[in-house]
């Protein structure tokens, strides 16, 4: 027997920490725990009530243990799923399953990183990918660049389209207090930036910052009596490969599967979504996700973002805090797609607020477009 989990759990607390940088000597656990404490305070829930701990990070092999020790927790449900940047979205899916099955009541989902202050170019505990070593493989940027290059080949997407994504993110960031990058940015600036991996220049690539984010999730029954609960209407996860050579098709991603599943569960379709947070480690990402999630047809992502299509006042409000390109990018950005979704649904964000937003979609990939998770969130009236 299978019952729907639609609306069974809600996010009732959110917290941020360490953006753009923690003080010198800080550890990823410091950052993660601070975000967790902020989220618990936001929820009005005492740390000792947490009985489900979900933690992730790139620099920590055992992030859940670090968080439990730090906060003095001994939870009965522990989850350290590591599938790359979408891990917190995957853990949100796991958390609502755990809450529904009764294995925990108060789930704390946390992420933390000292990616910038650690001084490493890309601080990660990733296992070596032995068939990519020795080729001069610079990691994610080359994988996503090849996706972009193939997207250009198949659909005529232009470098200017990728640049539109970076410029739109910056315009949103300029409306977002605390966003890391807020200086003016033009299409020409993006095109003229130092080449990194064609077709990408520096401004097609996410920031390198510190940062932590956390969420508190409880059952809908409990959330009913709390301030501004945001309900999980649909959620789905998938993992398809590890190495870029094993990705079945560079321009069709697992987002098409998780998106369809999440929309079906939520009983919604793309036109019903008021605001979308699409993990933008590189400028090609939102273009591919807009297609795979059904906001436009395959191959139409370039035209969709053109002429300010996802900038403030555009066709669809995307990455309304500035995303990984301009808000922050501490190694893995997934948790921040959820936090900005919650903020938009709570309302009152000033200049960047999407008026009357009732539904939000958060999507993140992990690794080289290898794992995906989609979450569709809604205000109480969407239940």
């Amino acid at each position: 027997m299978r019952t729907s989990l639609r609306g069974s759990a809600a996010i009732v607390g959110i917290g941020l920490a360490g953006i753009p940088a923690m003080p010198p000597g800080s550890t990823p656990v410091d950052c993660m725990a601070l975000a967790a404490l902020a989220a618990l305070m936001d929820a009005g829930i005492a740390p000792e009530e947490v009985d489900g701990v979900f933690a992730s990070g790139l620099q920590m092999l055992m992030p859940a243990l670090g968080l439990c020790e730090y906060l003095g927790l001994a939870p009965r449900h522990v989850d350290g799923t590591q599938v790359g940047g979408c891990a917190p979205l995957v853990q949100l899916n796991h958390a609502r399953q755990a809450i529904a099955s009764g294995t925990c009541e108060v789930a704390l989902i946390a992420y933390g990183s000292t990616q910038r202050s650690s001084g490493a170019a890309f601080a990660s505990l990733s296992e070596p990918l032995v068939f990519e070593q020795g080729l001069g493989w610079p990691g994610p940027v080359a994988a996503y660049a090849m996706i972009a290059q193939r997207h250009m080949h198949d659909f005529g997407t232009r470098r200017e389209d990728f640049a539109e994504v970076a410029v739109a993110a910056r315009e949103w960031a300029r409306l977002t207090p605390g966003a890391t990058a807020q200086g003016p940015l033009t299409i020409e600036d993006v095109l003229a930036a130092r080449p990194i991996a064609s077709p990408f220049g520096l401004r097609d690539c996410c920031l390198v910052t510190d940062g932590g984010g956390a969420l508190v999730v409880v059952s809908a029954e409990r959330a009913k009596y709390m301030k501004a609960p945001v309900y999980v209407l649909g959620s789905a996860e998938i993992a398809t490969h590890r190495s870029i050579a094993a990705m079945p098709d560079l321009v069709h991603t697992g987002a098409a599967i998780t998106g369809a599943r999440a929309f079906t569960e939520a009983g919604l379709s793309p036109p019903d979504i008021d605001v979308a947070q699409l993990y933008d480690a590189f400028t090609v990402n939102p273009i591919v996700f807009l297609e795979d999630l059904g906001f436009c047809a395959k191959g139409e992502g370039g035209p969709f973002v053109r002429d300010g299509g996802i900038a403030p006042g555009g066709r669809l409000a995307v990455n309304t805090n500035g995303g990984g390109l301009s808000f922050c990018h501490p190694g893995m950005y997934g948790v921040f797609t959820l936090i900005e979704s919650v903020l938009q649904l709570r309302g009152g964000l000033g200049a960047r607020q999407v008026a009357g937003a009732k539904t939000a979609l958060a999507h993140a990939p992990g690794g080289f477009m290898a794992s995906h998770a989609t979450a569709i969130l809604g205000t109480p009236e969407t239940l």
């Binding site: 990918l129 090849m146 991996a197």
Partner: protein, 125 residues
């Protein structure tokens, strides 16, 4: 020992692949079909070794720029199946490289990795 026998391969997929390259070939470890997958992986059944084509078509590519220099990386669809990540010699325009017919380089230049492909001259195939 009781019950089951541990499976231990004579050669790792990486060792077999690297051994093949030293002889100018692309070989992958035993694996149940479909076997032309990268990275190569072990299977639990067959012990057949697979020699793959050393020619193929560029599926996608990117020109990587670093302080130390620049180089082209490409995903190559081998002629008889299998897609691998390799270095691509002599190309700087990734858009122009997509679709190019390429072959595993038989000579190794400077500090190139062993898994380097080059474009096959027009009409040479």
């Amino acid at each position: 020992m009781s019950g089951i026998t541990p499976l231990t391969p004579p050669l790792s997929p990486l060792a077999q692949f690297e051994a093949g390259l030293t002889h100018g070939g692309i070989t992958i470890a035993p694996e149940a079909p479909p076997a032309r997958r990268f990275p190569p992986r072990l299977g639990a059944g067959s012990d057949t070794q697979h020699a793959l084509a050393t020619t193929g078509t560029v599926y996608s590519a990117t020109h990587v720029s670093t302080r130390a220099g620049s180089h082209m990386l490409a995903l190559i669809d081998l002629t008889d199946g299998g897609r691998l990540l390799a270095r691509l010699r002599g190309e700087t325009d990734a858009s122009a490289a997509i679709g190019a017919q390429v072959a595993l380089a038989t000579d190794r230049q400077d500090d190139e990795p062993a898994l380097t492909f080059t474009r096959i001259a027009e009409g040479a195939r």
